[in-house]
């Protein structure tokens, strides 16, 4: 658990990136894709953990270290909307909590995924309005979800991780 006392750390994301302001909180938090930044506060009771906020140019990253060792990053645009979430950790996260109102679309897509073959492999949902990618193995899962239409200009999909 890397949650330290409130303070500021300067770093760099490379050429073209502004210096980052990293703020540490000791509040538990969780967030919902597509929701307002306030959903982060509203869902804080869901998991105990620490949260830090990273301002990175056109968006802000809220990183939550949950007590069960799962790390969740929420990407919040300048107008206060969660446009992407990413996570990694030993246990599978509560996708309903992460995806919020997008969970139904994701679940419907997952149930529909009937390949000709039985498969055990990475999971991908690529639909208009929702992309979800999940990988890893038992005791080490990772994934991300984003709403393509909500990505602020200049944000690369690769930055969501």
């Amino acid at each position: 658990m890397s949650g330290g006392p409130a303070g500021a750390v300067k770093s760099s994301l490379g050429a073209g990136c502004a210096a980052l302001m990293i703020l540490f909180f000791t509040l538990p938090a969780w967030a919902s894709l597509g929701g307002d930044v306030s959903t982060i506060q509203a869902d804080q009771v869901h998991m105990q953990g620490t949260r830090r906020m990273i301002a990175a140019g056109p968006y802000t990253v809220h990183e939550i270290q949950a007590s069960n060792r799962t790390v969740v990053r929420e990407y919040v645009s300048a107008d206060g909307k969660v446009f992407a979430v990413a996570w990694h950790g030993p246990w599978f996260p509560d996708m309903g909590q992460l995806l919020g109102s997008y969970f139904e679309q994701y679940q419907a897509a997952m149930q529909m995924q009937s390949s000709t073959h039985i498969v055990r492999r990475p999971v991908s949902v690529n639909q208009p309005g929702l992309v979800v990618q999940i990988g890893g193995h038992i005791r080490a899962f990772s994934g991300r979800a984003y709403v393509p239409e909500m990505l602020p200009s200049g944000v690369r999909v690769e930055d969501i991780q």
Binding site: G96, R120, G135, R144
Partner: protein, 412 residues
Amino acid sequence: MKHLRILAIFAVALAVAFSSSCGGGSSKSTLTNSPTNTVASSGSNVAPISVNGGPMGNYVDAAFVSVTVCVPGTSTCQTIDDVLVDTGSSGLRILSSALTTVMLPQQKAPNGDPVAECLTFLGSFTWGPVETADVQIGGEKAGSVPIQVLSDTEFKIPSGCTSSGFHSADTLSTLGANGIVGVGLFAQDCGSACEQPVQAGSINPGWYYECPSSGTCQAIAVSLAQQVVNPVVLFPSDNNGVIIELPALSGATATVNGSLVFGIGTQSNNGLGGATIYTAPGFEFTTTFNNHAYPGSFIDSGSNGYFFADTTGITECGGNEAGFYCPSTTLNLQATNQGSNGANGTVSFSVADAATLFTNVSDKAFSDLGGPTSSSTVNYFDWGLPFFFGRNVFNAIEGKSTPGGAGPYWAY
């Protein structure tokens, strides 16, 4: 050892030279053999396995074995065929619908309620009661093994189990097998985290539940001894790991037969020989591919292909084959694996057009099946079932000693 390594490097070089000189246009391609590839055919610690499409005939690049389960301490037994051999998980899971002639005792929580489990795999989850069985695979028998019986009807699936959004794999059509036998690096499926109290701030992921006769199932803590266990660790001997032995395959075919061998260095037929040990204290090692290191990589017989990040523009399949790669010509690729002990070695592998591979519907085993890991930022390379063709792959269980040191490690 050194000579074998040199031989291996020579073999790799030869294979690369051969495959490049022969072009990559054919759907049949060259698979590089590692120095160690023998398939044990007899022995009390040997069980035959087959890559054959499974009981529904639609499970590509997956190995199946027969497992006998008995009411503990009795000769009331049933042999379950077509159980998936999975080195990516630990523990035996059997479809309730496949257990037709034996009634296994239910495991109970301290308060007397039945215990059930939810295990989330990638793309599906398994739900159902934890029951106890004597488990026999080949000539090896383990007593009173906690196993999971897959059923959505005995206990209602709790919401915590459906939060992945995945489907329940509790029927023949959804599982594609009569069960899964996890013989991976973990001793128990969950481990010490599931021993912790279920409460706010706990690391317990809540896989185990107690299910009262009325009301919903509630997550509970479960001791290591009561968790669904890698059955190998409960064998009286040959209990430190397994070897998957499949002969080399070049291209596609209907059936590949091989062996699941129990024990590492415990008998004359399961020595490490010239295999290189890749230690994996975190159950992962590092694969370097296209100059990118993937520290969360793993070997998994339960994955039906090579799954790795597409940073070179490999064409992904569309339609029914989405999730696999469909390059216009077969790609001959190389990657390097490195254990935390510093051991490293190069692996040559090929990826062919999955849509073309699947056109011959009788083919179920493919040496060249691959697919994307969903995003370019993931940290792993998944060496699935094709990796096992032509390679004896040793899986040493965590905490178990072997002549090559303690597990967890892979060796090949």
